[in-house]
Symmetry: C2
Subunit: 336 residues, 2 copies
Amino acid sequence: MKQETVTLDHGGGGRASRDLVESRFLPRFANPHLDRLDDGAVVEPPPGAIAMTTDSYVVDPIFFPGGDIGRLSICGTVNDLVAQGARPLFLTVGFILEEGLPLRDLEGVLVSMEEASHESGVSIVAGDTKVVPRGKADRIFINTAGVGHVPDGRDVSGHNAQPGDRIIVSGSVGDHGIVILAQREGLAFGTGLVSDVAPLNHMVEEAWSAAAGIHVMRDPTRGGMAASLNEIAAQSSVGIRLDEKSIPVKEAVSAACELLGFDPLYIANEGKMLVIVDPSDSEAALERIRKNRYGKEARIIGEVVADHRGRVFMDTQIGGTRIIDMPLGEQLPRIC
Amino acid sequence: MKQETVTLDHGGGGRASRDLVESRFLPRFANPHLDRLDDGAVVEPPPGAIAMTTDSYVVDPIFFPGGDIGRLSICGTVNDLVAQGARPLFLTVGFILEEGLPLRDLEGVLVSMEEASHESGVSIVAGDTKVVPRGKADRIFINTAGVGHVPDGRDVSGHNAQPGDRIIVSGSVGDHGIVILAQREGLAFGTGLVSDVAPLNHMVEEAWSAAAGIHVMRDPTRGGMAASLNEIAAQSSVGIRLDEKSIPVKEAVSAACELLGFDPLYIANEGKMLVIVDPSDSEAALERIRKNRYGKEARIIGEVVADHRGRVFMDTQIGGTRIIDMPLGEQLPRIC
């Protein structure tokens, strides 16, 4: 039986495009905005500030233990909005499909997007599909852009870390990157390990309800925790001190890193949040985060300090101190 | 001398990514939101409804007479917001770059994006760059998503066409598609012809200032005017009657179409707007549109009728009537 695949016609803006949208996209993402099938959507966020963000997803492989490019494309943008202090509301989705992509694969991705958008409570309000000839893209690339509402009184930015602030990570680091690497290279060490890809908006809303003093959030994806914390140290012109023994790392991740010469701090996460919070609020924030299914292993892993401006350093398990530099370049391409 | 190119490191989220952003992107798109270099931006649109839209751009070739993929990526999304009745305000930009793309080409694209964002008055508030290995994408793909403010009292949708409404097109049809085709195939008929790619927000604001009775707008890109009008006829459950002799088509476009067996009504435009307007406002709207540099050749080309629901038909130059069907599939892949 011939396998049904994406054809150039599906991206032509004509009847085949319309059929694809009506048979595959609308049934999954139905909402009054999208259903109008205009070139965009008119929505009404609550009055006040909105957060905007975008990410393109090019992960390889597109299906991996714990998720796929569809779940990633929703969660990544939801989490970037959360990191701005926002409540995610609306997403747009842009697909770039390679001619010949099995429609079954597209369907699998769409199912995951539907689930993740339901879980996070965001609506997909506008979309676009382009098809490029075979060999001009790698199966499927997805861009999502998002809009969220920033409630009054929240001011979250990489520039806002203050000496004394505590640093919370919502769970173990490096899971996503190691899963992708294991899949791609056919390595066995990843057995049982799944990507952490998850929408963190409900978890972080819980933290907000108990802790108004959240100064910075960031989801440590490409470049891992090392990149995120170095960015924050530079933006806020502060030092960041980590305590190695309190950083949660799964055994499978640390074994893989040891074997391959990686450092878990530099490995991408897709369902973790760094929360930098006023010391008076840190225990309350931690407690709320730990009540959420995605924050059970949350820990305070360090603090912001006034010296060593722009630097991240770590008290190691063996009693020394180590500088955690900004990663130079690409360790693992196409991790997200 | 070795040509500088995009490397996988540029997409790694580390120092090379940061250098690319700081040396190439920030100087061009500087604004207080983007300059914060957070994972997104917090902005304050005027109170009320906002429009959202997204498009990915995969045009081949990336540089063409009259524009390039950069100008296209700004104008296309600006025009989609305009088609919702919105004033475009903020854009996000997601790049997918192929390893090996000459940085000179990227620079050329960024210059065009800067110019188009200045011309249209929109701010690029957040961005993302991914790099995929050589052969996994075709040089550069750009996604833009946009947010605009919808002033009170505007209600524009493909569902709102009413019998009696006049149909205005803001200028000659088919220019963009024929330019791309000529470039790609090395055909000479395109000599002198340039793409119409342009941001139409100022032109349409002029029309609004004189004509509150705008019911539908659409920028006829993929599938051309035929696809857009068929969509509107179906959405509004009305008939659409066109008058062939009033539809502006440049001589070079009609010659190329004749030679190749295309119909200009099915060819993509990137700087044209279809405006469907209450008959009492149609002359005022037309007059304002014609005062704008992008609307000089605007014409009333037809009207909405109560019969022939869901169909588009045309009174031809030779005195007959022809059904203008929805295009079936892809005539010209990668036109935008």
